[in-house]
C-alpha cells in the first residue's frame, strides 16, 4: 500500500472479488425458485404426407404438417437473474421402430423486458416434422410440450418442461395434393 500503483491494484482486486461475491449472492437468491408454469397448447390443422427425404436417405418418409395455438403467460419467470428465455416446442411420440421420438418443431427467444404474454393463433412450425420411417400416419398419440431454458446472469442453466401438454393424432390417410 505504499505506492499509488499498489493502492490502485489493491482496490481493484478487492472490488472484483466483491463483485464475484455479489454475483454469487444473486445466484443464491434465485437458485431455489420454481420456474415452471402452465401452458395452453392445441394442434389446429394436422396432416401427414409421404415424400422423399432428400436431406437423408432419399427414401419416402412421413412428413407431418401442423399448425398450433399457444397461450401462456411467462412473465412470472423473469427476475434479476434471468437474461432471456429460450422456448422450444417438441413433439413426442412412439413408433414401432423407436420407443421415444422427440422432434423440435418451433422455438423462440424472449429477452427480458420483451412481451412475455404469448398468445399465438394458428402458428406454423419453424422446422420440418420428419419421421425416420412411416411412424406418423395414423399415430394416435403425439404429445406437444412447450419447454424452456432459463439463461441466467450467473448460475445454472435449467431446462424446464411446461405443464399442460396437448396430445393429438395424425390422420390415417396421406395427403397427396399440394398444400
Amino acid at each position: 500500500m505504499h505506492s499509488v500503483l499498489q493502492r490502485g491494484n489493491s482496490i481493484l482486486a478487492y472490488t472484483l472479488s466483491f463483485l464475484a461475491f455479489l454475483t454469487f449472492c444473486c445466484f443464491v437468491s434465485t437458485v431455489f425458485l420454481n420456474y415452471s408454469t402452465g401452458t395452453n397448447l392445441k394442434a389446429v390443422k394436422v396432416l401427414v404426407k409421404n415424400v422423399p427425404d432428400y436431406s437423408a436417405s432419399r427414401e419416402k418418409n412421413d412428413l407431418g404438417f401442423l399448425t398450433f395455438d399457444l397461450k401462456s403467460d411467462l412473465s412470472s419467470l423473469f427476475n434479476w437473474n434471468v437474461k432471456q428465455l429460450f422456448l422450444y416446442l417438441t413433439a413426442e411420440y412412439k413408433t414401432p421402430n423407436n420407443e421415444l421420438n422427440q422432434v423440435v418443431l418451433w422455438d423462440k427467444i424472449i429477452l427480458r423486458g420483451e412481451n412475455a404474454v404469448l398468445d399465438f393463433k394458428n402458428m406454423n412450425t419453424k422446422y420440418y416434422f420428419w419421421d425416420d420411417g412411416n411412424g406418423l400416419k395414423g399415430n394416435k398419440n403425439i404429445t406437444l410440450t412447450l419447454s424452456w431454458n432459463i439463461i441466467p446472469n450467473a448460475g445454472l442453466l435449467p431446462n424446464i418442461f411446461g405443464s399442460g401438454s396437448h396430445s393429438f393424432q395424425f390422420p390415417i390417410e396421406y395427403t397427396t395434393s399440394r398444400m
Binding site: 500500500m1 493502492r7 490502485g8 482496490i11 481493484l12 478487492y14 463483485l19 461475491f21 444473486c26 446472469n153
Partner: protein, 96 residues
C-alpha cells in the same frame, strides 16, 4: 521536472493503514447497498453500477496520498556526522 519531484507520493505507515481500511469499508458498503437495491428493483446491473461508483469514490479518496494520510511521519534519528564511529551508525540504521 523539478516541479514533479516536489509532488509527494508517499503515505506514512498510519496513513497506509487508514487508506486500506477506508477503501475496504467504502467498497463493502457500496456493494451491499447495491445488492439490496438491485434486489428491490430486480436489476443486477444496478448492483454492478453502484459497486463501480464505490470503486471510483475509493479511488479518489485513497489512491492519491492526500495530506490526511501524511499526518504521522516517522521520526528519524538526526543524521550523524560522517566523522563519528562507523559501527554506531550501522546500528542506528538497523533500528530504523
Amino acid at each position: 521536472m523539478d516541479f514533479f519531484k516536489t509532488i509527494p507520493l508517499h503515505m506514512d505507515f498510519e496513513g497506509q493503514h487508514r487508506a486500506e481500511k477506508l477503501s475496504r469499508i467504502i467498497i463493502t458498503v457500496f456493494g451491499l447497498v447495491g445488492l439490496v437495491w438491485g434486489y428491490i428493483i430486480q436489476q443486477f446491473s444496478q448492483t454492478v453500477y453502484i459497486l463501480a461508483a464505490g470503486f471510483l469514490l475509493t479511488s479518489i479518496l485513497t489512491i492519491p496520498p492526500w495530506p490526511m494520510y501524511r499526518k504521522k511521519p516517522l521520526k528519524w534519528q538526526p543524521a550523524r556526522d560522517i566523522d563519528s564511529n562507523s559501527k554506531d551508525s550501522n546500528k542506528g540504521k538497523k533500528k530504523k
